[in-house]
Subunit: 133 residues, 2 copies
């Protein structure tokens, strides 16, 4: 999982997308049909070091959903909550972790970023338009 | 928001998609470009009766995300958690609420269900392939 580091971290709890110092993220990416079995297997039994680093980087309540589009292609949708106070630093810790690098070396080739994602993103960030706590 | 009532409610906390009697849902639907402004405005200031019924029906941590696809079309992605013990009954309470009916009479015409959704669904349910608490 790579996330944009350009998003300002919410500290006030008053911004859209934030409540009680929780910053929520929704994002989307394509996944190759031939990689589905391996992707699902890896994520059904994730490496303990990967989950540990996510928690260490203040990520919680992280879910990934898979769905097939009417045209036959497949997409992944991620939802997670960030509860730290330095998003960029926490993401850098992730990116610097050798086990995370190894994990991404498996998952990146399985994924197809959306062509209209923003520069520097891997998963395309989506816009939150509604939230109920 | 309409959700399939065919999904068995998780009571054990052991099934995929469940932890501590929380059942998570991810779903997707199209939204018409000409309806975006009204959809966003409604969801930025949702009717209190609608939010109250969602809570009454044991829905929590409910977010909706919007994104544009590379082909120009728009889609909505919903994530929410169900914390009750009778999903069908709670969804029926929602569907029977006149304010919810009125809300849906506005939102349904703005949405375009995916053609490959399951029969009886409005939003297309997605498959959870990963979760970290």
């Amino acid at each position: 999982m790579k996330v944009s580091t350009t998003i300002t971290v919410c500290l006030t709890g008053l911004m859209m997308g934030c409540s009680q110092n929780v910053q929520r993220f929704g994002s989307v990416i394509g996944v190759k049909e031939e990689a589905l079995e391996k992707y699902k297997k890896m994520h059904a039994q994730p490496w303990p070091e990967v989950n540990a680093q996510l928690k260490e980087s203040n990520i919680q309540n992280y879910s990934i959903y898979l769905t097939q589009w009417p045209d036959g292609d497949y997409y992944l949708f991620a939802y997670f909550e960030y509860v730290g106070d330095d998003f960029d630093a926490d993401m850098k810790k992730m990116a610097d972790n050798p086990k995370i690098k190894e994990w991404w070396s498996h998952t990146d080739p399985m994924q197809i970023p959306l062509s209209n994602k923003k520069e520097g993103q891997w998963w395309k960030d989506m816009e939150e338009v509604y939230h109920l706590d």
